[in-house]
C-alpha cells in the first residue's frame, strides 16, 4: 500500500477528483494548506504599507491505494495539475503499513478505495 500526497493548485482539484471517481477511486482527502516553494512572494497593499506574502494557499490531496494503482493516480494528478508555470506543486509517494476500516474492523488492502459490489447505499 502507498499513500500519495500531492500539493496542487486549487483549480486542479476538480478535474483530478472527477477522473479518480470515474476510475473507482472515491476515497481521497484534501486539506487547505499554505506553503512556499519556488513561487515568489506577492506584495499586497494595505493603507499605504506593503505586506509580502510568502506562503501561498495550496490544496494537499491524500489518497491511499494498492501499489499497482500508484502509476495511474500519479498520471491523473500530473495530467491535470501541471500548467508548466512555477507554483504547480509537488507529489510524494509514501509507504503505508496498515489500513483499518473503522466501521467493520476489516484490515489490509480490502479497505482501500471502492468496493466491488454496490452494497453500500449512500448515506448509510
Amino acid at each position: 500500500m502507498k499513500m500519495i500526497v500531492a500539493y496542487i493548485r486549487h483549480e486542479a482539484f476538480e478535474p483530478i477528483r472527477q477522473e479518480l471517481l470515474d476510475a473507482g477511486f472515491p476515497s481521497i482527502s484534501i486539506t487547505e494548506v499554505k506553503g512556499s516553494g519556488r513561487q515568489k512572494a506577492i506584495t499586497e497593499h494595505y493603507r499605504g504599507s506593503e505586506l509580502a506574502v510568502h506562503l501561498r494557499p495550496k490544496l494537499k490531496l491524500e489518497c491511499v491505494v494498492e501499489d499497482k494503482d500508484v502509476g495511474f493516480i500519479k498520471e491523473a494528478v500530473l495530467r491535470h495539475a501541471r500548467t508548466g508555470s512555477v507554483g504547480d506543486g509537488k507529489l510524494f509517494v509514501l509507504p503505508v503499513e496498515e489500513a483499518v476500516r473503522l466501521r467493520t474492523g476489516e484490515e489490509g488492502e480490502e479497505v482501500l478505495q471502492a468496493h466491488d459490489t454496490e452494497e453500500i447505499p449512500a448515506g448509510a
Binding site: Y46, E50, G123
Partner: protein, 511 residues
C-alpha cells in the same frame, strides 16, 4: 480600582442631592404647554434637535464597526464593550459637569465665561435657558434637547480618541481617560471653540476676530484626534508593525465590509451632526447644510480615490473609507459658513490630505485606523478652510468671525489668522491635558498590555472570550462536532432520515 469606583458612586449621588434645586425649565415649559402658551416653534425645534442628536448618537455604531473592521479578528470583541463603556461614562460625566463647563454662563464658579462656563451642573441651571446657555440662546429648543445633542458630540469626540490605540491599550485606560475627557478636556476645549469661549468671541489681542467652527472640525474632531495622538506617543506601535529595517508593515484589519458599514453609518450620522448644529429648523438653513455636507463627503472620497491611485496604484478600500470621513470632518466647521460650491473643494483637498497624511504618519507612529489623519489633519484643514471660503452673508447670519467673510471674499487674512490661532490653542490645550492624563495612567495602572497579552489578543485577555469564538477554539471544544453535515460526523448510526438527505445533496461528505 473596581472597588474604589464602587465607593465613588454613592458620593456622586450625594453631590447631586446637595445641588441647589434651582429653576426647572421643564416645569415652566410644561405649564405653558398646558395653558396653550408655548410657541409653536418650541416643539418643532426641539423635535429637530432630538432627531439630529439621535443621528449623531448612531455614529457610535459607526465608530464601533470602523474600529472593529480595522482590527484583527482576535481584537474584534473588545471594541463593542469599549464603545458602550465609554458612552455610558461620558453620559454621566457630561450630565454632571461637562455640559455646564462647555455651554453654561458664568454662575457658580464666578470665573469669566470666556474661560469656562459654570451654569447647568446636573442640568439644573439658574436664570432662563437663553441666558443660562447664551451661545445656544438663538434656538428655543428645550435645554434637554440641546444637552442630548451636545452630549452626542462629546461622545463622538471621545470615540475618535481610541481608534489609534487599537489592539494594545489596557481597558482601564478607557475608563479613566473617559472621565477626564468628558468632564474637563472636551468641555473646556469645546467651550473655547464653539461654546461661547474666548476663541469664538475673539476679544483678545491674539485673535483678530472670532473663530468660526460651525459643528466642530476643531471642537470635536481635532480635539478627539489630539487625544489620540497623545495616547499614541505614549503607547508605541503594535508588535510587528515595524520590520527590523524600520519599514512599516501592513497589519490588515479583519473585515473591510464591517469598516465600510461603519463609515456609511458615520456618513448618515453626519446629517445630524452638521445640519443639527443649527439647533433650529424654523429658519430652514439645515437643508442647505445637508447639501454642503454631502458635497464635502463626495469631494473627500474622490480626493482619496485619486491620491491612493496615484500613490500606490491601487484603490485602497480603507483609504477610500478614510477619504469619506476626512471629507465629512473637513466640511464640519465650514458647513454653516460656506456656499455649496465650496463643499466639494474643501472635501477633495481633505481627501488628498488624509491619504498623504496616513502614509506619512505610518512611517513613524502606528495609527491603525488613521484617526490622527482623518480627524486631526482633516479637522485642521476644515477649520482653516473657513478662513478662505466663509461667505459674508453666512458669517453675518451666524454672528461669529469677520462679517466680511473669508480670504476669497474680503481679501483679508483676518479670519484665516483667527482660524489658525484657534487650531493651535485648541491643539496645545488638549494635547497637554491628554498627555498628562495618559502619562499618569502609564505610571500608575499601566497603559499597555504585556507582549504575551497583545499576542493573544485583547478579547481573550480583557474579556475572557473571543469576539469570534469559532475561529480560535477548536469546534469540538464548544460542542459543535465539525463544520460539516452533522449526520456524517457527529451522530452515531442510524442517522436521522432528514440529515441523510442533506448529506447526500451536499455530496461532499465521504472521504
Amino acid at each position: 480600582m473596581g472597588s474604589r469606583l464602587l465607593r465613588a458612586g454613592p458620593l456622586a449621588l450625594l453631590a447631586l442631592l446637595a445641588m441647589p434645586a434651582s429653576a426647572f425649565a421643564t416645569n415652566v415649559d410644561l405649564k405653558q404647554a398646558v395653558d396653550g402658551k408655548l410657541s409653536d416653534t418650541v416643539p418643532i425645534n426641539t423635535m429637530w434637535v432630538i432627531v439630529a442628536a439621535v443621528l449623531v448618537l448612531f455614529m457610535q455604531a459607526g465608530f464601533a464597526m470602523l474600529e472593529i473592521g480595522f482590527s484583527r479578528a482576535k481584537n474584534a470583541g473588545t471594541g463593542v464593550a469599549k464603545i458602550l463603556t465609554n458612552l455610558s461614562i461620558a453620559a454621566i460625566c457630561y450630565w454632571a459637569v461637562g455640559f455646564a463647563f462647555a455651554f453654561g454662563s458664568a454662575d457658580v464658579l464666578g470665573i469669566s465665561s470666556n474661560i469656562i462656563g459654570s451654569n447647568g451642573f446636573f442640568l439644573q441651571f439658574s436664570g432662563n435657558p437663553a441666558d443660562a446657555f447664551p451661545v445656544m440662546g438663538l434656538s428655543d429648543a428645550t435645554v434637554e434637547a440641546k444637552w442630548l445633542f451636545q452630549f452626542a458630540f462629546c461622545a463622538v469626540s471621545l470615540a475618535i480618541v481610541w481608534g489609534s490605540t487599537l489592539e494594545r491599550i489596557k481597558y482601564g485606560a478607557y475608563v479613566i481617560y473617559a472621565v477626564v475627557f468628558a468632564s474637563i478636556i472636551y468641555p473646556i476645549g469645546s467651550h473655547w471653540v464653539f461654546g461661547g469661549g474666548w476663541l469664538q468671541n475673539g476679544d483678545t489681542p491674539l485673535m483678530p476676530t472670532g473663530m468660526q467652527d460651525f459643528a466642530g472640525s476643531t471642537a470635536v474632531h481635532l480635539i478627539g484626534a489630539t487625544g489620540a495622538l497623545a495616547a499614541l506617543l505614549l503607547l508605541g506601535p503594535r508588535r510587528g508593525k515595524y520590520g527590523p529595517d524600520g519599514k512599516p508593515r501592513a497589519i490588515p484589519g479583519h473585515s473591510m465590509p464591517l469598516a465600510g458599514l461603519g463609515v456609511l453609518i458615520l456618513f448618515i450620522g453626519w446629517f445630524g451632526f452638521n445640519p443639527g448644529s443649527t439647533l433650529n429648523i424654523t429658519d430652514t438653513r439645515f437643508a442647505e447644510i445637508c447639501v454642503v455636507t454631502l458635497m464635502g463627503a463626495a469631494g473627500g472620497v474622490i480626493g482619496a480615490f485619486a491620491m491612493t491611485q496615484l500613490k500606490q496604484r491601487t484603490i485602497d478600500i480603507g483609504m477610500v473609507a478614510n477619504g469619506a470621513v476626512a471629507g465629512l470632518v473637513a466640511i464640519t466647521a465650514p458647513s454653516g459658513y460656506v456656499e455649496i460650491w465650496a463643499g466639494p473643494i474643501i472635501g477633495f483637498v481633505a481627501g488628498l490630505i488624509v491619504v498623504a497624511g496616513i502614509i506619512a504618519i505610518d512611517k513613524r507612529i502606528d495609527d491603525p485606523i488613521g484617526a490622527t489623519s482623518a480627524h486631526g489633519l482633516a479637522g485642521i484643514w476644515g477649520t482653516v478652510s473657513c478662513g478662505i471660503f466663509t461667505a459674508p452673508r453666512l458669517a453675518e447670519y451666524n454672528a461669529f468671525g469677520d462679517p466680511h467673510g473669508g480670504l476669497l471674499y474680503s481679501g483679508s487674512f483676518k479670519q484665516l489668522i483667527a482660524q489658525g490661532v484657534g487650531v493651535v490653542v485648541a491643539f496645545s490645550f488638549v494635547f497637554a491635558m491628554s498627555y498628562a492624563t495618559f502619562l499618569l495612567i502609564k505610571r500608575t495602572l499601566g497603559l499597555r498590555v504585556s507582549e504575551e497579552q497583545e499576542e493573544a489578543g485583547l478579547d481573550i485577555v480583557e474579556h475572557g472570550m473571543y469576539g469570534y469564538p469559532e475561529q480560535f477554539i477548536p469546534l469540538p471544544e464548544i460542542g459543535a462536532a465539525s463544520s460539516g453535515p452533522a449526520s456524517r460526523t457527529g451522530t452515531p448510526s442510524p442517522a436521522p432520515a432528514g440529515a441523510t438527505v442533506s448529506a447526500m445533496t451536499t455530496g461532499e461528505a465521504s472521504a
